[in-house]
Symmetry: C2
Subunit: 385 residues, 2 copies
Amino acid sequence: MTAAANQNGRRATASRRLERAGIRDVAAAAGVSITTVSDALNGKGRLPDETRSRVREVAERLGYRPSAAARTLRTGRSGLIGLTVTTYGEEPFTFTEFAYFAEMARAATSAALGRGYALVVLPASSRHDVWSNIALDGTVVIDPPDQDPLVTELYRSGVPVVSDGKPGNCPVTAWVDNDHEAAVLGILEHLSEAGARRIGLLTGTSTDTYTRLSTEAYLAWCDRVGQEPVYEAYPAHDPAAGAVAADRLLARPDRPDAVYGLFDPNGTDLLAAARRYGLRVPDDLLLVCCSESDVYANTEPPITTLSLKPRRIGTTVVNLLIDAIEGVDAGSGAVPGRLFPPRYRTAGTGPPPGTLMPTELIVRASSQRRCPRTTVSPPRPPGEV
Amino acid sequence: MTAAANQNGRRATASRRLERAGIRDVAAAAGVSITTVSDALNGKGRLPDETRSRVREVAERLGYRPSAAARTLRTGRSGLIGLTVTTYGEEPFTFTEFAYFAEMARAATSAALGRGYALVVLPASSRHDVWSNIALDGTVVIDPPDQDPLVTELYRSGVPVVSDGKPGNCPVTAWVDNDHEAAVLGILEHLSEAGARRIGLLTGTSTDTYTRLSTEAYLAWCDRVGQEPVYEAYPAHDPAAGAVAADRLLARPDRPDAVYGLFDPNGTDLLAAARRYGLRVPDDLLLVCCSESDVYANTEPPITTLSLKPRRIGTTVVNLLIDAIEGVDAGSGAVPGRLFPPRYRTAGTGPPPGTLMPTELIVRASSQRRCPRTTVSPPRPPGEV
DNA sequence: GGACGTCGAAGAACCGTTTCTCCATGAGCA
DNA sequence: TGCTCATGGAGAAACGGTTCTTCGACGTCC
């Protein structure tokens, strides 16, 4: 009691009026020590239920909210996870530009909150300005390019990093990605079966894994089946460039009779380009593009899309990251009382663990030649087209 | 020197191996006190440039990164801003569900980062679980409903709150909103001029300001021009309900010949419903909906949309919030050295300052009767429909 | 020659928790 | 009676910075 009053007395001398109640105030009001308050509120220590509930009640009455900063400083944990996209240039925030990012970020946010963490959206630029002002328990990086300096720096400073997209040449704790190779091959097969003779690709110029792996899979397939590759690459972050590239692709002398577009807007771009050249879809041109947008269910004609299932990815990435964050403490079991785990690194042997997740091809009219009546299928109601 | 070695010695006794360098390590390595290090790195104090640069160089060499948690604890500033949507139910994260939120959040993120702050995405539920674990300098709330308990609690605990959407009955530091009344009136006039005789409204059931003000403006207009209101309301967070409501609206005996839909998906929903009833757009039905999506530029026919200019809103909201956060310190000039400003509140007189921002009506085919040749307009090229 | 101002820097309090350590007290037991 | 042990709780040391205060040394000025 005396001690509590004393501790509080020191503060009372200062001209504090409207300050929030601190743990000391609660302790004084409840007539216990701050240790007891902390234990009672956090469910630790050996306290009879009576004391516990009394302290809780006093804290409630005083509107006590523990200082997140102090807790973070002491425990070394902030409950904050960084989320960043590094690929598409420095300046413009491409978040939500493609439905993929939006969906993925949303799922990641939900998953994090479900486990008591919050997401902080951060820029790709590795300028310390913002990054080092925030205590992060870990970071999710979407599509890191080769040799990403940001990832390297984070890793060096001991922050766990999990990437969406297999990392090219930078060290991450773990990564999650779609099986892009299988996806592209599946699409090429799908188009071949629909009658395509020459399949073109609309791809990007950046070095992220998605672009690279997809393009490589396409080229390998061309090589295998003996088709000359027909593709156009453009900077994916520039929407105007996409339309131009689509146009170029269809203007080529060796015009493809089927096209797969790697990026979300490619579907509408290709559709518009096809119209300009008087090509009917799917009769003259089969179309598939990678997109999470359900816009393509309502275009004329509806366009077959490849979904990367961003929600599953976002959820998985976050869960892996939090596992890593929390797992370290459990893992260093030798010294139970350690406040700070040793630097966060994979064991040092071999590549970081990766998870491949399946994609989903949503087949619509744009990739099926008309008259599917030749196949065995149920008759349609007359009302539909 | 001795002191520095001494301070460091205390730490060296513990078995710290891979720990990050702290300010004490830098001080020891540079042969100065930690005060000097702090001052040198933060550009404060009276130090000759030579010392300053030497300290900086040592810090760089040691890879020193100041602890954000410690800084936050001492200065009372975290550089973190919360961002939350409270309206549409507890569970599902509606972020990015509508293009409006996505755009707004993106602009807000950019604006915050530009001023050295980062955004934390937080759930609407006022459960303390996550909220009180994070040190926030302020919060942006999108569309707070009437009597939002979250906003009230934040306000009580002294965190500045700026809302996107005029707050109904909860105390905020400031707010930003579109002039919804003017927007709705503009649309109704636009439709009337296009020949509409009975204009219907597709609206929501929630109590956020957007829904409320828009609906009230519609009802007031009906009252004024002597039209019987024709509207359907549905829970905006449920996409399936939107399609049903659109259908209901067009199935009514007093079917409107023009409809304005308050929510993003209403355009496609209404278009689909119109098809089901054999209504041609715009011949039999004029259509406008509020949306930020450019999908409506490519529907058949293209649909007139009202844009709320979410980027401008997001930028403004964040700037107002940061002004409030930083302004307090500057304002309490009487005691320059104060660490903690007094509780953040508006002066206590009158409502919080609000800013109204204009909207933009993007007129497309869906809201213009055919044969505008009767009006004075340039002849069209023959290629177009 | 002493008072004084300035420069450069060190000392130490403090921010508000968590948690390790330690101390009473009283019961159980030989 | 003396010892051990469990219980309930207090004390105080961190955590890692920022910043207020102090202090010596050195010119300078009257």
